[in-house]
Symmetry: C3
Subunit: 320 residues, 3 copies
């Protein structure tokens, strides 16, 4: 941590435009907990491939929340790694897909991205005593609050363009098509996108981050499908990636980023991926009465629990 004087000096200087753009590209990759610029660039490409609205709002959200972090004097080493951009990225996508493409949605995306930076600072303070990080919680909180409040406001609400999927009924027999669709959409649903080819592009981006990262992403997706099938989830939801995106995130976070590369740790990460699949149904039922959205809460809660348990479970070892 730089001295108070150095930080004072640092924030008196505007950032280089190139540094700002690089931090933003990395911010897109940080949704999957990857700081690599190439990974971020390929994933951003995937988002634009999903549709110009998705790409535009993802880009806008990432740029605004990164810029807010510069303006408020947040520590620059974290900004450079993209840690101030990823929640804005997801918030932009969540707002345009929940509220539709209207002028008011642009305003809300900007305000939401600013709030993501504030929430990121607040949660970092609150989680610090436990050695936990905020993960995507700022996104879930900001988007959750905005989507929950939106129907109360005449200038924002134009009807629901994306009704919440039901998780409670439907045929449970998986076809071959369901299987490979689900395998890829599990990766794209991390960004609220349900196109299999977007998931494929994103897997390429994750491969650029290293073998271990892409292996855990793939294993997480497979475990998510298996767990959902074993529990008897509707095939349609499995094929759309609804049940597997949290498993992908837990596998990457716990298996490839936060813990060291041991066999016990890998088993722990994949157990977490299976558990988060079940938790997805619980949280969706929990949020249904008030129209809330599940977003990536199952990933966040599962990862917090698994990581908070580690200090008392000597079998598992944090990465250095």
């Amino acid at each position: 941590m730089p001295s108070a004087e150095a930080r004072q000096h640092q924030r008196s200087k505007a950032p280089q435009p190139l540094a700002y753009l690089l931090a933003s590209v990395r911010g897109v990759g940080q949704v999957d907990l990857q700081p690599g610029a190439w990974t971020g660039a390929v994933i951003l490409l995937g988002l634009w491939a999903a549709g110009w609205e998705t790409g535009l709002f993802a880009t806008l959200g990432t740029l605004i929340s990164t810029a807010t972090a510069y303006a408020l004097g947040v520590d620059r080493s974290g900004i450079a790694l993209g840690l101030q951009g990823y929640c804005g990225c997801l918030t932009g996508i969540a707002l345009v897909s929940s509220l539709g493409h209207h002028p008011a949605t642009y305003v809300l995306a900007v305000i939401g991205a600013i709030m993501c930076t504030l929430l990121m600072a607040a949660l970092t303070t609150l989680l610090a005593p436990y050695g936990l990080t905020a993960l995507t919680a700022p996104f879930c909180l900001v988007s959750g609050v905005m989507v929950l409040g939106a129907p109360s406001f005449g200038r924002i609400w134009h009807g629901d363009p994306a009704p919440v999927s039901s998780t409670t009924s439907g045929d449970t027999a998986l076809s071959w098509d369901d299987l490979w669709h689900g395998f890829f959409t599990n990766v794209s649903q991390v960004f609220l996108v349900d196109d299999w080819y977007v998931g494929l592009i994103m897997l390429v981006g994750l491969a650029l981050a290293g073998v271990r990262v892409v292996l855990f992403a793939v294993a997480g997706s497979a475990v998510g499908i298996f767990a959902a099938w074993a529990l008897g989830a509707p095939a349609e939801l499995i094929a759309n990636g609804i049940y597997g995106y949290n498993a992908v995130l837990v596998a990457i976070a716990v298996g490839a980023v936060l813990l060291a590369g041991t066999v016990w740790n890998a088993v722990y990460a994949l157990f977490g991926a299976a558990a988060t699949t079940g938790l997805t149904a619980s949280l969706t039922s929990l949020f249904k009465p008030f129209g809330g959205h599940t977003f990536t809460w199952p990933f966040i809660l599962t990862t917090w629990v698994l990581m908070a348990a580690v200090p008392l479970l000597p079998r598992f070892r944090p990465s250095d």
Copy 2:
């Protein structure tokens, strides 16, 4: 902090009646985060002007929870500033307006005021590591739990005298009358009162606490109205102060009490006031399925987030 011996000695003595009354009057003002006795006295006058039931239950709640704090040996310097009375004050008002004026309501108000003192101690312990204070959370928890459980109990429940306002529909065009009504009821709704002249009396009390306090109260009320209008909230709810009382509290707390008097801090406080206005709709939707009440939760959550973010955002500076 006094030594253990001094505290032992201190709590063996009963408080002076005058000190007890002064601490209670200050407790009324602490609802608006003001320790001044004159401010508390004028606000208490406003509560009695709102109706004898409101005045009586506010007085009863403040007296009981302050007395509980003495009896349990709470640190006396905090009691003297009124910090043990304000949650009991609000709980008394909330219970009589939610449950009606019945003998059982008096009993519940006494129990609720005792619980406020316990919750205040518990939350102070839990929030201490983060440098946050309990604000009005003890009131929201105690009153929320009591109002939520009340319909299950035959000896307490006599039907709902104050159905929860809907925040989801209605005309959004603001008349001049809506505007100035809302401006004052935003101040009185902090105490669950929707009479504009009570808000006016309370503003006089806040003016006695200093120019900065009353300026932020006024600015918070204006920002709350503007934000609600910009979002497209129903005019009737704006006129009744439903959308603005949290903005008043956030503006006073963040702008005039917790942060230093800089331009960045003032912008931050008013941004928070606008944000809490939106959050009010979200929380009301969240609480609706189980008949919960919003109370001052938007103020509490917004202020906790803003203050927890400050240590990582060097632009903002706590007050000394």
Copy 3:
């Protein structure tokens, strides 16, 4: 706390079968916060007397979560006291009574018991800064999540064998039969069992743990009945122990385990027992919209609040 080397050595050895069984029997007693093996054995007898399914799932859950703790290298002194078994015990009972006796329920009970050990570690980390313990929260979280998610999954859900009791209506006049039934079922409902003779057997087990423990259990049950009657709860629910089991737990935990044996502390514990009775109705109303279960949340929340308040209330003193 043993040194890192000693712990490394310790977990490389498999536990003695006898030590494992003893730790599991103690785990059953730890549901009532008692480490005594005889207490655990008598309570386990009561569970088998309630029905072989209840006894079997309680035994299975306790054995699995204790074994998981050994396998993951949890500190052995805590395991030996039964601290790793009690949440698995309750989770087993909750799953068989909520999901019915099916092959899938066995699988879920095993997974749930494993998760209880993880949650126990995670909550212990999170609560450590406040000097609080996890109590039965791992059970409530694991069982709550599983029961909430279950209806979404075709291979798990076979209809609800135990619909949630309504707490909102019914005759409030208590007969003599209601009274003594309630007195004993308050003790058995801690384990989700509503047979009065099971409660009687469990009281015998608690008597083996000492006079103070059984006195507080009895006083808690009486206070729970009185508070529920005074509030006007339906007589049928009082007779079934729905309103009193949390009072029994609070009285034992605060009165006989966590605080020293003073008069002020005893009053505090019994005040908490009365308060948790009211909280039971609030939480049941809160959980109703999404089909959640109250389990022992009222006990947990009440005890956390009372214990977190103690450091600032010099009248009360923790046990040594």
